[in-house]
Assembly symmetry: C2
Homo-oligomer: 197 residues x 2
DNA sequence: AAATAGTAGTTAAGAGTGTTAAATTCATTG
DNA sequence: CAATGAATTTAACACTCTTAACTACTATTT
């Protein structure tokens, strides 16, 4: 942060600095340790300046969450362009889910209010999330054309299984190596997708 | 709280009053709203008294978590005594998991650090949790005798699927009725258990 | 009965949180 | 140079967890 002289930072740079710093503290000390004052200190400003960019801590957290969903949605889109086979598509989307959660754990935590991260704003109502849901439902539909409810049920199952394995792997990462959990994740989701046929 | 005269409360009653009040506030306002002062006010004492019973907020939360795991382990034991068929056992244990999560959501939240609940103490290292893991692994082993690693993998899968469906149902409870989620839960776990054969 | 010891409970304070209003600095313009 | 306007900070409020110091009361001992 100290590298760039504060004066010559643009408004957009400062804004991103706040977001980056929040995630940085969260990654190193956990979300319970993230405070507005700490963020302000890190970007070389006083606390009220942060409020010039985000009206509340909750809105800052929501921004980070939204960024997370947007990033993930773009990855979904990338995969949809890259592969045509529905099974391959769903498998690759599953893998991205895992990759994202372990490369940006602090973002994943805010997205699902895990481990001290707490954002009041409801997770639902995010357009990106709705888009992602749409893509996954389409993909499932394209190789098992069933009723709307059946597809919704399968989507819900897929999401839950993916999220469950990810959060459990995080919780147990000291007892069970992440690499091993990843093998189980891949295997379980492969089987889930195969059984859709 | 005011019903019983504070003087004639025993130490054990006061201790339980603290735990009850903490869960009560959490249930109504969420864990982010639980503070030592609020608890103290509710039980008609000043804040430092709470520290006579629990050295820190974290230790109080850990107590609630431990109680949760103990309760669940006892339910597991009850089921093991009640049924002999391994498939029935695992299915009933799965159902208890769901029942517990939705009857005592605030406890479930502390157990897994969800939605603003945050307890520093690691979830692992709980004897009750280890006991539960043992029971489930035994049960799985008794109808598919495989290697230690395979059983561990299946136990991990089962736990993740159960936890994933539960947390997702909680997150989506406004979009998808809990009753409907429960049907999917039952169905998914029934299938998981059947496929173990 | 008076003095002392011990306990139950309180108030007060330190350090930190989110957040806002007021004050201050600084640059630019008339 | 004076004055306006924006940028930034200080100060404050109402909380948070937590601990030290103090008070009030009870019970025992002399």
């Amino acid at each position: 942060m100290e590298v760039i002289e504060r004066k010559q930072r643009t408004r957009e740079q400062t804004r991103q600095g706040i977001v980056f710093t929040a995630k940085d503290i969260a990654r190193r000390e956990g979300w319970q340790a993230v405070s507005i004052r700490k963020i302000a200190d890190a970007i070389d400003y006083s606390a009220p300046i942060v409020y010039e960019y985000f009206d509340s801590k909750d809105i800052l957290l929501n921004e980070i969450r939204t960024e997370g969903f947007r990033f993930l949605r773009e990855e979904y889109n990338r995969i949809m362009k890259l592969y045509r086979d529905p099974e391959k598509r769903l498998y690759e989307i599953s893998l991205i889910q895992w990759k994202f959660a372990f490369e940006q754990p602090e973002t994943y935590q805010v997205m699902y209010n895990l481990n001290g991260a707490f954002c009041q704003v409801s997770i639902c109502g995010s357009q990106d999330l709705e888009d992602m849901a749409g893509l996954v439902r389409e993909t499932i539909f394209s190789f098992i054309p069933k009723s709307r409810e059946s597809i919704q049920k399968l989507y819900f199952e897929w999401w839950s299984i993916s999220h469950g394995l990810i959060t459990m792997s995080m919780i147990l990462k000291d007892q069970q190596p992440v690499d091993q959990s990843e093998l189980i994740y891949r295997d379980t989701l492969r089987r889930f997708i195969r059984n859709l046929r």
